[in-house]
Amino acid sequence: MTIKMRKVGAGLIGLLTTLAVVGGSAPSAMADETNSTAPPPKVELILDVSGSMKANDAGGMTRIDAAKKAFNEVVDGVPEPADFGVRVLGATYPGNDKAKGCVDTQQLAPVGRPNKVVIKNEIAKLQPTGWTPIALSLREAAKDLGTGTGTRRIVLITDGEETCAPPDPCDVARELAASGLNLVVDTLGLVPDENTRRQLSCIAEATGGTYTSVLNADELSQKVQQIVKRAVREVDETPAPVKGSPNGCQDAPLLAPGVYSDREEFGQHLWYKVPVKPNQELRATATVGADRKVARDYDVTVTAFGEDGRELVGNAGAGNGRTDVQSAGFRYPYKTDNDHAKTKTVCLVVTNAFAAQPNVATKPGLPLELTVDLVKATDSKAANVHGLGRGWVFLGVLAGFGLISGLLAGWLRRAFKALGKAMS
């Protein structure tokens, strides 16, 4: 009976443990309460309606039909609370005059909550016509998305490369990303050829976006919806723009905890300052993006200096090969028992050892994301344990040797006694 009861008990505990393991295996860490006042993400789609979209090779339909089909699905599925707009390029001018063909881009629907009926009607009317002025369309789309905080995403859908260069759309994209607008360009190549792939990859890389090649309407629709959803999910606050000082600590901006974005040129040192109160721990990370072709090996170093120039702590992250970013981070605890300790100003310097490849623009600088955090300080030195022990094994060993010594002492005593008796 008792055994049975025990079994049931064990089973119950087991079940509870199972539940705990299943249900509680993911201790969720909420970084901060998400700020719901963040503005809605803005997304603008740019659709190429140039002559080449007539080609009948997108999964059994023409490219433009595939794009239209996908667009209708996307418009139906725009999630709350995204603002959504549409722009077209090469939609109106059929002639051969480059000057006219290369300004042929119009906004089909303004950025806001989409009016599905209107957008669908407009899309239905589109006919593949003209040139492919990608660079200009990107510039115009960036204007459409406006200024202010919040994330901005441009989704560029095209089947061919720029036909109006210069300027190179890749350089234009990098320039736009550097303008402090939190702008990302995702590119989609519809049945793309080699040059188109290269150009679209370059645009995506320059802005931290993604490049995807799609072959039919379904893939296109799925990918665009994925990108729009992602834009909505990533609605978290956007980094605050800041300008680090290249001249040293004294001119550096004083930073509160948070995420910042900046630009750092090749080989530049950028300085920032953080006031650290007693018993606060400074945690900082620096992430430098490789938004263009760079040499194979690179590193990023972030170091903390005291105001007197002493190096407090630092970390270097090195890497090689194809990458989007290289990061480094450190923690600096300012732990003190002194009640009269004063606030310390910690100077933070971010350096990078990226090397630009020949023929690659060196300006604007590389995107730099800096995070600064102040939390409770932890002791920076290991505890002095004075050679003391801890734990059950330690206790067991001592107890075991105690027993052995007791037994030995007892036997020795008896042996001596016996010896004494024998002698007398």
Partner: protein, 265 residues
């Protein structure tokens, strides 16, 4: 404590075997779309012990994050489904990397971190096991500490023509109790490495900022653990107790020899 842990594991295993088996299997096998982010800041949140699936494009950088506590060993595993031969022009190399809450790369001490798929291969599996998470480290050290971790999956090398092709990604992270021999320091990190995500603000000269309290669901399932005995002072207690026990056993041993016994006959 190891004994208790083992006992708990055994209990859980027994329960899973005959009571909770369907529940456990059902929950553990539930796949779900967990969107990765394209940056550290936007990393998608992984549930430990669950597969996350995603259709990505070749050449994309995928970031997920997950929590890990002190004493845990992280096991990260990625399965990639690549487009079949005709859609690809050459071999592609993928790499999995684990970064800690300070975005420092943590080396994989076990597992296949880099793998190349030849043109004919459609499957690729990567694994990474970084060092066991410590409970404390000196500021200069890059030892893994409790907090959020990032897993980053990306193609290291992809032919120009294959960029943007579809690739299906399944990622799974488990954390297991690590080796008990992890060096302990009698210290604990006051707050786990949970990255800040709010936008920064530039201060005026002379201003200071408040300490952020890191919200971290501690999920105290160790009700039997004697927390009050942690920390540097615990060693005094342990040593005193062990000495006392040793003395008691010493006296006991001595007493055993007092009476005449036939020990070995």
């Amino acid at each position: 404590m190891t004994a208790i842990r083992t006992m708990r594991r055994a209990l859980a295993a027994v329960a899973a075997a005959f009571v909770g088996v369907t529940l456990f299997a059902g929950a553990a096998a539930a796949d779900q779309d967990v969107p990765p982010g394209t940056t550290f800041l936007a990393a998608g949140t992984l549930k430990l012990g669950q597969d996350a699936r995603w259709s990505a494009s070749q050449g994309e950088y995928l970031y997920w994050q997950f929590p890990a506590k002190a004493g845990k060993e992280i096991h990260a595993k990625v399965d990639l489904d690549l487009a079949s031969g005709n859609a690809r022009t050459g071999p592609v190399t993928y790499r999995i990397e684990i970064y800690d809450g300070l975005r420092r790369r943590q080396p994989c001490v076990e597992g296949k971190q880099v793998a190349t798929a030849q043109k004919s291969d459609t499957k690729l599996a990567l694994t990474c096991v970084p060092r066991v998470v410590r409970d404390w480290a000196e500021p200069w050290s890059t030892d893994p500490l409790p907090g959020m971790y990032f897993v980053r999956i990306a193609a290291m090398d992809v032919p120009d023509l294959d960029a943007g092709a579809a690739v299906k990604v399944a990622v799974r992270v488990d954390t297991e109790d690590g080796d008990d021999q992890v060096p302990t320091s009698d210290r604990k990190l006051a707050d786990p490495l949970v990255p800040i995500s709010k936008a920064g603000a530039v201060l005026k000269s002379g201003q200071t900022a408040d300490t952020r309290s890191v919200a971290w669901d501690q999920e105290e399932d160790h009700w039997y653990q004697w927390d009050w005995m942690d920390g540097p002072n615990a060693r005094w207690f342990w040593t005193a107790m062990a000495t006392f026990v040793a003395v008691v056993f010493g006296i006991l041993g001595y007493q055993l020899t007092r009476k005449k016994r036939h020990w070995f006959s």
